[in-house]
Amino acid sequence: MSRKLVSSKEASKIIKDGMRVAVGGLTIHRKPMSLIHEVLRSGTKGLRVLTLGGGPDVDLLVAAGAVEGVEAAYVGFEILGFAPNFRKAAETGRIKFTEHTEYSIMAGLQATAFEAEFIPSKLLMGTDILKALGYKIFDSPITGEPLVAYPRIVPDVTLIHAQRADQYGNAQVEGVTAIDLLLAKASKKVILSAEKIVTTDEIMKVPSMTNLPSTFVDAVVECRYGAHPTSCYPYYTYDLWHMISYLESAKTGKIDEYLRRYITGLDSFESYLDEVGEESRKKIEMQR
């Protein structure tokens, strides 16, 4: 096993203009926000973002103009409603939105991960979502029934935030695990940030908890509160207050101000956490 521990700035160099970047987590849960901030600071452009359920990750990338296309089964802030920058950009055509469902994403990733050209299935037949995806329908060589060919989905890079990992990238993901492991398997490269970097001895205590092994990981970054303002069970819940003020800034045309104050005008995610403030972090803290 090789050591993969690097700074987030170093790790973000893997991401190049125009790449298809997959994002782990789900909506407002365990999004790799420190890595997203690094992408925004690096000025990378023309990305195609893919995620099962997007939230502040997708909305920020779109707001900052880093994105050309979004592929997702859902983009929103759950109980807080619409993702305003994403919605506007999708409605005006500034970005190309490809609406997937959970199945169409998982099937495409499964095909890649299991070295298949496509996954044949009946699901989604007859829906406008399938029509818009433009996937081919063919007759099954076994039953003669029409089937949808769900083609491979191959992300160039996947960004994942884990609860803990060792320096080799043996990681443990808890809570809303979503499809992170599948993304890691199907992706050419994986950048992992972890709330805590622990010793390999610590990882070996309960090997069954290591659901994302180092063989699927290319770079590891340590970042406490790395999912803020989304949640990271069991350490902290989501900072809904921060997200409400973010949504307010989008609604009142002050998104550029938000980006400067919290991301592009700062040198690191640590500075962002300082700007968020200790009091806000205390509110959401559940376990150290």
């Binding site: 089964a73 469902t101 406008d128 499809i179």
Partner: protein
């Protein structure tokens, strides 16, 4: 008899759809759906299994649970017997299709039971909604699909959905034995392949047939002598208000705009004060 609110009437109707050996799947944050699952568990369906997306887990619950906004994932994890992935959730849905129950909230639903959470409007003036997530995948597979609509109005109940997401009963892919239920603040509705379009199953007490016709964007037959929905019992109301949702988080599904944000912030402060 206690007085009850329209959302409580709806929750009770939703809970009654859950049978004792069902697997209840909870998707994205939907407080009314979760209250309904917990209520069913605490009353007529104690054996039901709950599978929560918050954690991609199976939870074991042997007493009425409280729902939460701020600690939703944490409360679920406290009762987890298994930590899986979303792929595994789908594998469970496929294997146990006949016993899955899941409550979906559509932005539009039409006469034939088709649903849409993708796009509203035709041609240029379209509104992009957050997305159907898993509804278009799995709803046509289930023998019973339950939708809920907290505000029964014409813009939700349309002749034809603007964009076809979850398939109704007319589609070829749908199983003919499929039953679709729609629980609203006015009544309970049904769509099945035999009749082909939406009918009234029961009308909530105090609601008139005219109210339903006025708020539905298509012709809906309401035969004379239609069933009245059985109102919530004192036990059901007590469980909802005292055990499952004492902070009244469920009202977030009814409210909109500024009022909703204000209520949400108040609820968050209350939850913060009770931080586990």
């Amino acid at each position: 008899m206690n007085s009850y609110t329209p959302d409580e009437m709806m929750i009770v109707c939703m809970a009654r759809e859950l049978q004792n050996n069902d697997i209840a799947a909870q998707g994205l944050t939907t407080p009314m759906a979760l209250v309904a699952y917990y209520l069913a568990k605490a009353t007529h369906a104690p054996q039901a299994t709950i599978m929560q997306l918050a954690g991609n887990i199976l939870v074991h619950i042997d007493e009425p649970r409280r729902i939460s906004i701020l600690y939703n994932e944490f409360r679920a994890m406290e009762k987890a017997v298994h930590q899986g992935t979303q792929t595994e959730v789908y594998e469970t849905l496929f294997k146990r299709t006949d016993s899955i129950i899941e409550f979906f909230r559509p932005a539009q639903i039409d006469k034939y039971g088709n649903s849409n959470n993708s796009l509203i409007g035709k041609d240029d003036a379209k509104i992009r909604l957050p997305g159907g997530f898993g509804i278009p995948d799995v709803s046509p597979l289930y023998p019973r699909t339950v939708y809920y609509v907290p505000r029964h109005e014409r813009r939700v109940f349309v002749e034809r959905v603007d964009y076809l997401g979850g398939l109704g009963v007319e589609a070829k892919a749908a199983k003919t034995r499929r039953q679709i239920r729609v629980v609203t603040n006015l009544g309970v509705f049904k769509v099945d392949a035999d009749f082909g379009s939406m009918r009234v199953h029961s009308i909530h007490p105090g609601v008139s047939p005219e109210q339903i016709k006025e708020n539905t964007g298509f012709e809906i037959p309401i035969p004379r002598g239609i069933l009245e929905t059985t109102p919530p019992t004192d036990e059901e109301i007590g469980l909802i208000r005292e055990k499952i949702d004492p902070l009244n988080i469920r009202q977030l599904e009814i409210l909109s705009g500024e009022e909703r944000t204000k209520t949400l912030l108040e609820l968050l402060e209350k939850e913060l004060a009770e931080k586990p």
